[in-house]
């Protein structure tokens, strides 16, 4: 238990430290005191020490983007944990199982085809459809093994990605390549206060309750019947958990596009620190996910300054090798 407490304190401190540090990093050279003077001025209604443009850099570009990164990272890591537990599949991840690309498709369809639904709702619809398609396809092959599920996820996510690209090509004017990259690879470049609000509210309303379901998820460890014998309403709980996961993924993808591998890597990393019990794993993975994505995005916007890199490239560069290691471990176990 002490290990969990220590990890919680370390990760919580790291999240606060990451937000405060990342806001000082960027193309523009703005002093620490001025950055914080600007933030404090906005919070208290005082006068910013910076001119309009530099103040805009801190308050309109950097801070909402960092907060969005924290919420998106936390949410994706959380959804990864939940999906791994519910599907009893260590390789489950909202990106690998197609939820993210399904959500992208829903979001792109609304934005570009002008369908009159709220963006996060459409993204949720896309995520849910993709999830049902993945699980349906995987169970059509035979018993729902992890490998089959991932393969079905690859098929569904490629298809949704192709449809997304098609919709953008069909309707977009001008330079559509960058927009496609933004949705498929995930980017936080467009994150401003409205995006931070969507991601933040989704984390509060869906994410926090989901964080408290650790005990229910643990009950799934020995399979559905064991869960049922422990009093878990298996079918209802599974769909409620997956539905909440899709809802959260939808809201996050609507603001950031489909950022990959956060939901895969962070739960595994946190498990190495504190063990597999979901009760501690869920909140701590969320904290770790927030910290991770803040730094991945800070790297994406500052490393090749003044060019922007889609943050999904950074997370995939880190996540894909981890995925490979997990696959190898599975093979050696089998």
């Amino acid at each position: 238990m002490t290990r969990v407490v220590i990890a919680a304190i370390v990760l919580g401190a790291a999240l606060v430290a990451s937000i405060t540090t990342a806001v000082m990093i960027g193309s523009a050279d703005i002093g620490v005191a001025d950055v914080w003077g600007s933030v404090v001025a906005h919070l208290t209604g005082g006068a910013s020490p910076l001119d309009t443009l530099r103040d805009g850099i801190v308050w309109q570009l950097r801070l909402p983007r960092i907060l969005t990164a924290a919420a998106v990272g936390a949410g994706l890591a959380l959804v990864g944990c939940v999906m791994q537990a519910v599907t009893r599949n260590q390789l489950a991840d909202p990106y690998l199982l197609g939820l993210s690309s399904g959500a992208s498709l829903g979001a792109v369809a609304v934005v570009l085809l002008g369908i009159g639904i709220l963006l996060p709702v459409a993204a949720f619809g896309g995520a849910m459809l993709a999830l049902v398609a993945t699980l349906g396809l995987a169970s059509a092959f035979g018993p729902l093994t992890p490998t089959r599920t991932v393969l079905a996820g690859v098929a569904v996510s490629s298809f949704a990605a192709a449809l997304t690209s098609f919709v953008i090509f069909w309707t977009a004017t001008g330079d559509s390549y960058r927009e496609i990259l933004g949705w498929l690879l995930g980017s936080l470049a467009g994150a401003r206060w409205p995006e931070a609000a969507i991601a933040g509210v989704a984390m509060l309303v869906v994410g926090v309750p989901l964080m408290l379901t650790g005990r229910v998820l643990d009950a799934f460890a020995f399979g559905d019947r064991a869960a049922a014998s422990l009093g878990v309403p298996v079918v209802g709980a599974r769909w409620a958990l997956l539905g909440a996961s899709a809802l959260l993924t939808g809201a996050l993808v609507a603001v950031s596009g489909s950022i990959g591998f956060v939901g895969l890597v962070l739960p595994h990393a946190v498990r190495l620190m504190i063990g597999p019990g979901n009760r501690a794993l869920l909140p701590l993975s969320a904290l770790a996910g927030g910290v991770f994505l803040i730094w991945a995005d800070t790297f994406a916007r500052a490393a090749f300054d003044p060019r922007e890199l889609p943050v999904g490239i950074v997370t995939a560069l880190i996540g894909a090798p981890v995925f490979a290691v997990l696959l190898l471990r599975r093979r050696s176990m089998a």
Partner: protein, 328 residues
């Protein structure tokens, strides 16, 4: 947003002079464009409908971030080099005729991000490409406006408000005039020089066809029927093999190119994709190596920026005509 005015302004048959009059009406002061007052700050405000966004300039911009070479060059041609505080994503060095007039640093050899743009404290971001105005590039136009930074897209590069009519020199001249009005300078001298160069071009009369090869290896990206390449080729007396494609640029397969068998090939030279590279590609591909134009090296080379509608389009047409005349 007043798109009607915009289309009115860019009606291809309009003469440059008529456009000046139209602008003056927009500006609400008949003296603004034609004869700028000696004190620019006292001039009445200029409002333009720019690619679906209405932009008002109460005073002439003083600190400009110019993205892409077309915008940099048009400002230099109007003698506005000292207003540029930074450039970005340019396509090659500043042409010789203006060397020394630009002292601003280049923010990035590629598309800059918004933070780096805001950091040089511009009052105008002027881009040759519309895609610069996005959240993951120099910032959206609304957001920039909210921070007190004006934005302006080269009108010929506007895509988001629908297809543009076929480019004409009148259109290019009216764009020069509009920019001059924004900066409260007199474009008359520049326009006269452009017109003079244009008048001096002797179109080729041999009835030759041409391919405008911009980039791409697997699928070449070529100048099509509506943009600057078409205008330049027509002016030089060439027939564009892709002239029936209703676009500024388009992807055209090698098969279609070989079937059309162009008499000459116009190669675009950019720092990031040189003409020499393209010659090597044409000569190494068996299908294109057999084309008479490749076998006889009937190449015409133009700098990248002249392929986009701007102040160098006239020069490009003259250069193409000259290079063409030298080809047997």
């Amino acid at each position: 947003m007043n798109t009607r005015t915009r289309h009115h302004l860019r009606r291809p048959t309009l003469a440059a002079a008529a456009s000046v009059a139209g602008l003056a009406l927009l500006a609400g002061c008949s003296a603004v464009s034609a004869n700028p007052s000696p004190e620019p700050s006292t001039a009445a405000s200029v409002t333009v409908d720019n690619c679906g966004t209405s932009v008002t300039f109460d005073t002439a911009p003083e600190r400009v971030v110019a993205i892409k070479s077309t915008s940099v060059e048009l400002m230099l041609a109007l003698g506005l080099g000292d207003r540029i505080v930074a450039t970005a994503f340019t396509d090659g060095p500043v042409p010789e005729q203006w060397s020394g007039e630009l002292n601003a640093p280049e923010l990035s050899a590629f598309m800059p991000n918004e933070e780096s743009v805001l950091d040089v404290e511009p009052d105008l971001v002027y881009s040759g490409w519309e895609s610069a105005f996005a959240a993951d590039a120099a910032g959206t136009r609304d957001e920039l406006a909210g921070l007190g930074v004006a934005s302006y897209v080269q009108p010929a590069a506007c895509r988001s408000t629908g297809a543009l009519p076929k480019l004409t020199f009148d259109e290019i001249f009216s764009e020069i005039t509009e920019l001059a009005a924004i900066f409260r300078v007199d474009p008359a001298e520049l326009l006269a020089a452009q017109q003079q160069t244009l008048d001096a071009i002797e179109p080729d009369t041999r009835g030759l066809t041409a391919l405008w090869y911009s980039s791409g290896s697997d699928i070449p990206y070529v100048g099509a029927g509506l943009g600057a390449p078409e205008l330049i080729l027509e002016t030089a007396g060439l027939t564009n093999i892709a002239s029936d494609v209703d676009a500024t640029w388009d992807s055209l397969g090698w098969e279609a190119i070989v079937a059309a068998d162009p008499d000459v090939i116009v190669l675009v030279d950019a720092t990031w994709n040189t003409a020499a590279d393209k010659i090597a590609r044409l000569e190494s591909n068996p299908a294109t190596a057999a084309l008479p134009a490749v076998a006889d090296k009937r190449y015409i080379i133009v700098p990248f920026a002249s392929g986009e509608a701007g102040v160098r389009t006239v020069d490009a047409a003259a250069s193409v005509a000259e290079q063409l005349a030298a080809l047997p």
